[in-house]
Symmetry: C2
Amino acid sequence: MNQKNNDFSKIMLERRSVRHYDETFKIPHDEMLEMIQEAITAPSSVNLQPWRFVVVESDEMKAKLKPLIRFNTLQNETSSAMVLIFGDMRCHDRGEEIYDLAVEQGKMPSDVRDEQLAAIIPYYENFSKEKMTSVVTIDASLAAMQFMLVARTHGYETNPIGGFEEDLLAEAVGLDKDQYLPVMIISVGKAMTDGYESSRLDASDVTTFK
Amino acid sequence: MNQKNNDFSKIMLERRSVRHYDETFKIPHDEMLEMIQEAITAPSSVNLQPWRFVVVESDEMKAKLKPLIRFNTLQNETSSAMVLIFGDMRCHDRGEEIYDLAVEQGKMPSDVRDEQLAAIIPYYENFSKEKMTSVVTIDASLAAMQFMLVARTHGYETNPIGGFEEDLLAEAVGLDKDQYLPVMIISVGKAMTDGYESSRLDASDVTTFK
């Protein structure tokens, strides 16, 4: 890992949403891919990895994004990139590729692959749109959380953005909106200002033991 | 933090799903609450923190859970706890409490609180069921991911479980199923076996730069 900080407590507990970044700085593509590779160690339902990332960094694409992200314009203008995370509603189309890779890497015997694929693919094919939406939203969110933490290990800060025009985002970046469900936008870059601290309810107020 | 490990890379990159735990070991309630408190440093949409945790650890409640979790019986039988994470579809009912807390803790001026609440509460009241489902699913998933990482800092392992009877889970633990949307179950405990390694697609296969 191309890391600046490996202190888990500091990374997690001192993460803040940062809206203003050094606009002169771009994260190199190889480092962005390294960060995404680390983030997608997140688990996903039957390992189908439905997360898809669109890294918006050009002035042209940022201009296209601007009307779709409401009041989050400072992040768009100054971040190294706006990382759009989509859930692929056809993720099971890559099931064979994923399970073949596991066999190739010696992580799964081929008969287990065959058995599991034979169960998983028809199971996913039969999901309602509502169920598939839930699965890809959860999985993409897990990777999104890891991405925000990974960014900090690389010396960057983030802001998760949920307020955007859901119906228009996929097509704005050239994706089929029926296949790719937008889950979150994360701005990322070198912080120019500190983020605000925010409060949390006490764990005992949101937890019951049974 | 009551930590055994603070190495971010090891915590994140070496997390595996573990299904078999030391069934003689229970995580003390104060440590469980500490882990949840750390996990809920996750961000949430306008900080409404819709995550709700039900920590199932008694034999009686585990027996009730058993028919609802399909093939995940080993985790249920041997884990310290099955942590059920719900999204509260009425999370905005606690908006005032949360924003008051921020003012009290000196993290927000009172006029900002008043302005933001006046905007947020009616905005959330107007969400469609579909939109609210999406928001609470994302937010609860972010906390779920942090919980899985936090557990490892405490020397425990986890398994995220998505396959369960969604329609029956809330009522099984005494919650109103119209208000509490089940998002994920995470088994947690002291590992008895290593988890399997799993493969990931290359970041470059799930990423485009624009």
